[in-house]
Amino acid sequence: MSRETSMPALRQTAPPSVVRAAAKRRRLAVTSEGRKANWFTYAVLAFVILISVFPLYYAVQIASVTTDNMYGWGSFGTGSLALLGEHLRIAFGELNWTVALLNTILVSGVCAISVVFFSTLAGYSFAKLRFRGKAGLFGFIIATMAIPTQLSVVPLYILMSKLGLYGKLEAVIIPGLVTAFGVFWMTQYLEQALPYELIEAARVDGCSMIRTFWHVALPAARPAASMLALFTFVAQWTQYYWPFLVLGSNNRAVLTVAASTLAGGRYTDYTLIMSGVVLTSFPLVLLFVFVGKQLVAGIMAGAVKG
């Protein structure tokens, strides 16, 4: 029922009970598109968004005042752009920002590409191909999704030290190259998005298995793959515990660890620490402005199936 019949039309065509129900439903504003939004709804949502934005605003605020003014009400009204610029400039140097940013992009980017590649390949196989032991292998992936990452921290640390990767970016990247969630996600998506007819048509036309994957499965997987890439990218960018452990004294290599070093080390100057936080968060917030829509769509698409 996409369009509603008008009340007079309904009165002429439908039995009285249906007419009464429809009238009541319309009075209570329950339509096929959901409740009507009133001022209360907007007020609540505006308040939630205020809370979402406020910590970021406050970080910029603290970064733009002197240390004397950062407590109490002093942080409001005494800030200046010149001070903000000065603090950002110092934090920029202390963080070694350009290098840390490029490293963070490298880590997040490599992990995103790798996760998408391995997951799409395996997900296609699980969703559309028939082979012995499929159910068991897939069940194994689901089971590992529930295992906490902390459990692996100690042996991974030992492994990375043995491989001579301690303190290096590779040590941050390697554990993030595959995720069980990625395989689960791609399998779920391809199961319903890729019709068997397409695969069969390609096979009849003489495509080998890998050509079928390349020309049929990959294009169909694109929407889910780009969402998976985004989520992996954000997860890697915002992670702290593992890089903090394995980078050791190379503690300015990625943004989150660099920012925490600013907070934990020589400085107790909060205006500078906040400048570091602003510089760390700003690139991803900027990215969010452009891809936030896809993130929202991805979360909502995953939820219905999950």
Binding site: R25, G34, L56, S75, F118, L129, Q150, A180, V285
Partner: protein
């Protein structure tokens, strides 16, 4: 009928292609996963039974040490576990972790449900509201931790400034144990509330609208609708959200770590020290005679605790949401069937 040897070369290649390809496509994932997922998992179990120093490496079977009394010097498989369980710090950290977890997940899910309900209305500029709610998701938890550390500063931080200006005494957000848990939990809530709201929103929109229309005919108001239709219909998604927030919540590290800017991570009296922070202190902080075997034991204990909580949650959510109006209906259906 079709003997492989009698077939032309091309057909045999093609047959092999069909048979082997599925395995070839899943193999790269499993090879990678064996290295970074499975091996560490099994290796943790081994390390947890060993006396393993971060400098000296493997030094034989674990010993509990002086904390276990007279028998402490005897090596045993469970030596590290005995040591951990004898640490008052472990029990403090466990209490803190559970407290922070409860303070973050319970209000978070209730608020997320409420926000999702608000977002479910027929809004103008839907995408704007949804994106706005999701913004905290791209803020790194450690960055949020640093910001909230300042907002919750005991000493004229923003919240205490507001409180004192309306004649409410300032709250020692760092010094007081429970207050610090509330503060740390609010950092977790800040990041995940909007995310979970969107997950729940998607599930809400999948509820058939005619259920609501039918309930209107039956005379249900919005409140009744929410509790008798929305909540029961969201059951599967709620269980999913609760379980993921359990797994994540009990491993909380970044937020409490950044909530204090001093070498005394977790607070001066360990008032907001979590289990993962203790794991880090035990295994990786050199001034503390870092002991990886004991850290691995903590990891395994945490794993067991998480499993216990997941099972408990599963049981409770089944019980609670299963008591809704769906139960009599199911029974009725069974009677009809038999």
């Amino acid at each position: 009928m079709s003997k492989a040897t009698g077939l032309p070369w091309r057909v045999r290649v093609s047959k092999f292609d069909v048979k082997a390809s599925p395995y070839l496509y899943v193999a790269p994932f499993y090879v990678m996963f064996a290295v970074v997922g499975l091996f560490p998992l099994l290796y943790t179990a081994y390390i947890a039974t060993r006396k393993w120093n971060s400098v000296g490496g493997d030094k034989g079977l674990a010993v509990c040490g002086a904390t276990c009394g007279d028998g402490g010097s005897t090596p045993s498989l469970l030596g590290n576990f005995a040591w951990v369980l004898n640490q008052p710090d472990f029990w403090t950290a466990l209490g803190n972790t559970v407290s922070i977890f409860l303070l973050s997940s319970v209000p978070q899910i209730i608020l997320a449900l409420f926000i999702a309900y608000m977002l479910d209305a027929n809004l103008r500029a839907k995408t704007f509201w949804r994106m706005g709610v999701l913004l905290p998701y791209v803020i790194a938890p450690m960055a949020a931790g640093i910001i909230f550390n300042q907002v919750f500063s005991d000493n004229m931080g923003l919240i205490n400034t507001v409180l004192t200006s309306v004649n409410i005494p300032a709250i020692p957000w760092h010094a007081n144990r429970l207050a610090s848990h509330v503060a740390v939990a609010s950092i977790v809530n800040f990041r995940w509330m909007g995310y979970n709201a969107l997950v729940l929103l998607a599930a809400m929109q999948a509820i058939p609208r005619d259920l609501y229309e039918a309930s209107v005919v039956d005379g249900a108001g919005p409140v009744r609708q929410f509790f008798s239709i929305t909540i029961p219909q969201l059951r599967a998604t709620l269980i999913f959200v609760i379980i993921t927030s359990t797994i994540g919540g009990l491993q909380v590290f970044d937020e409490p770590q950044m909530f204090s800017i001093s070498p005394s991570y977790g607070g001066s009296n360990n008032q907001f020290l979590t289990v993962t922070q203790l794991l880090w202190k035990t295994g990786f902080v050199s001034t503390n005679q870092s002991n990886m075997g004991r850290a691995a034991a903590i990891a395994w204990l945490l794993f067991l605790i998480i499993i216990a909580f997941v099972l408990l949650n599963f049981y409770l959510t089944r019980k609670i949401s299963g008591d809704g109006p769906s139960k009599p209906r199911r029974r009725a259906r069974k009677e009809v069937a038999s």
